[in-house]
């Protein structure tokens, strides 16, 4: 007799826990052939606010970790993903991506984490500076993480784009609340399970699934976001930027209409880390 398999209830990873939306709302996820996969949480503004709170709490400790420790944790996340690469590829194939392309996306996502893991204890050496001022001061500029960053993942490259967005933000000590691909949310659901087993403190990366239209206004105006990034169309960019003005958030958005190639070399850069850094300059006296 054929055994009936146990299907997984999709849950999102927020504050180090796997949750359904506080509203109890879900939306049905179907694969590219129209077959039912599961009910994905339709996260609400309240879920988003809770996630921001979790990120703000976790971010303080995360930023205090040593750079070497952050480096190893990002590497550990890559290890977790590599071990479950086949499963991750299957989540991408749900959206109709061919097997080879899905596999390539998973490999690129793992490699992207390795790229940023390596930067953790080096970007400061490239981006920081000692400044030769005219006076008896040791003047130096160091980087600091901004705090909580909101990220909007594009519809396409549901795993690779998401990883490419959050890795350069967290590597410096920021905490992230990311909205997963609306069209293909399932890879983010499974990625959450890898985040949970990667030694990354709960709350540093929070992944929400749901509707952009419903959640973007809160991303734009929530005062605790210090930065907003990701991929947005023209209307969404206007919405996010004007909302950001209320608390002078830093906004770095890629136009959706550019169809950015996440597989390209240009999709990983030291300057993506720089996007989520503040620079602090200290004038330290020299003297006895």
């Amino acid at each position: 007799m054929a055994r009936l398999i146990i299907t997984k209830t999709p849950k999102v990873y927020v504050g180090g826990a796997f949750i359904r939306s506080e509203s109890g709302r879900t939306f049905p996820l179907k694969d590219s052939l129209g077959a039912f996969v599961g009910h994905v949480p339709q996260c609400t503004r309240k879920d988003l606010r809770n996630a921001v709170e979790a990120a703000a709490r976790a971010g303080v400790g995360w930023a205090r970790r040593t750079a070497f420790n952050r480096s190893q944790i990002l590497y550990r996340l890559a290890e977790m993903m590599e071990a479950r690469a086949t499963e991750l590829a299957e989540t991408i194939m749900l959206g109709g991506t061919a097997a080879a392309a899905a596999k390539a996306e998973v490999s690129a996502s793992v490699d992207r984490l390795i790229y940023y893991a390596g930067w953790a204890d080096k970007f400061e050496q490239v981006l920081g500076n000692v400044n030769p001022v005219s006076g008896p001061y040791f003047n130096f500029t160091v980087t600091e993480p901004m705090g909580v960053i909101g990220l909007i993942a594009p519809h396409e490259a549901p795993l690779l784009a998401l990883v490419s967005l959050f890795a350069p933000a967290i590597v410096s000590g920021n905490a992230v609340v990311a909205l997963a691909s609306e069209a293909q949310p399932y890879p983010a659901i499974i990625l959450g399970e890898m985040l949970a087993t990667s030694d990354l403190p709960g709350g540093v990366v929070n992944l929400l699934t749901g509707y952009r239209k419903e959640l973007l206004p809160t991303f734009a105006t929530h005062q605790h976001f210090r930065g907003i990034g990701g991929v947005a169309n023209a209307d969404e960019r206007k919405l996010l930027q004007s909302g950001a003005a209320e608390s002078i958030k830093r906004v770095k958005l890629t136009p959706a209409e550019d169809h950015f190639d996440w597989m390209a070399d240009a999709a990983q850069s030291l300057y993506a880390i720089r996007d989520w850094l503040e620079f602090k300059t200290t004038w330290h006296p020299i003297g006895s």
Binding site: A234, S247, I248, R274, K280
Partner: protein
Amino acid sequence: MPARPAARRTTRPARPAPELSFGDLWTFDPAPETADPKLRQRYDLFIDGKFSAPVSGTYFPSINPANEKTLAQIALAASTDVDLAFAAATRAFPAWSRLHGSERGKYLYRIARLLQDRAREFAVAETLDGGKPIKESRDFDVPMAAAHFFYHAGWADKLEYAFPGARAWKPHGVVGQVIPWNFPLLMLAWKLAPALATGNTVVLKPAETTSITALKLAEILLEADLPPGVVNFVTGAGEVGAAVVNHPAAAKIAFTGSTEVGKKIMRASAGSGKKLTLELGGKAANIVFEDAPIDQAVEGVVNGIFFNQGHVCCAGSRLLVQEGVAEVVLAKLKNRIRVLRVGDPIDKNTDIGAINSREQLDKIRRLVNIGVKDGAELYQPPCKLPEKGFYFRPTILSGVQQSHRVAREEIFGPVLSILTFRTVEEAIEKANNTAYGLSAGVWTDKGSRILKMSTELKAGVVWANTYNRFDPASPFGGYKESGFGREGGRHGLADYVQLH
């Protein structure tokens, strides 16, 4: 050796040093700086390498805030003039951005040198137009402006070292810049020098009360033979600024001014794709610990708030003083500000000059009244103020609480709010309890505490045992609602290029 009898081991009670206060016993002879500012009666717009009358034919007066006399008539730009300026900058961009960096650098070196040649003339013009003491415009504003051009000149042909590993970088195109009235020439240098070094062209609007030194600098740009259209100046008030930042030909906007206007600019440019840098307001904490060299700290606190009449976005307007020394610091501060000379900015002995405008003076008065009403204790020295012009006595508000408006809002005047704290943690908490994050000061004898404070303070610039120091090599800019982007140093260059 036998111990000395205990009775002899008396320590002198801690008593403040005797005051040296001569009041009005002697008056100083006037010592005005007499260099000729070489002002014109009328200043036109500077567009496409030429001075040209505004299309409307309208001019507005720029007055000397020290005596309310008109100094010159300034052209009022209309949107058509702003269009012409952007058209000129757009035409100039291809050649300027393609020009070899070493040649762009030479133009900037020329500008620096020509400004040094005419330094005293510019200092007098700056003081007459803005009201700041001549000793500040002479020893700070003008030399620092020249230094900014000189520093950035050297970057122009070395930019590949500024952005290590970048796949590509290129200038934005035409940059629209709007600057404030507190450091008219210096802010202009901060804006122009990095923009030009990286190959952008510029349309800049000076503040309406302080346009003169920008237009005098246009004379220098002509003397330097800068290609027409690379730099354009349009003058006027807020509407002209709005026309600059909202202009479709502006690829990037750089603004220095109030947080309120910064937010407006951000909203207005939303969805436009324009790059933005904002250097906005501040409410900096200047933190004095018990182990600080107290006399040096008092001097630094005075410089931190009364420099340029407190018209400084990074002014140390909130003094946080540790309880054990609060009384002695307050006493010494009162002594110190009693001997500050408030008066004619052009006098070489003047410490505090004129408030930039009547509107600003009214705003300072209003906020100080609110401070007193909220329960702060007011101290102002009994100095005489000139009869004409806009002046405000150096002011200390003690016993201020975190919730008071004078502890939260930027006053932008010579007004110091004093709060106290007990522990390092409390100092950090109070210092960071603000929407702003531009700068902070720390006074302590302990190097490790300086670094601890610097790590914890959410501010773009932290001064330790000093305050209000600037250098072209030192990046300047804010956290949080004090804006984003940096000016100066290697970091300031990145905001003027597109990095890939």
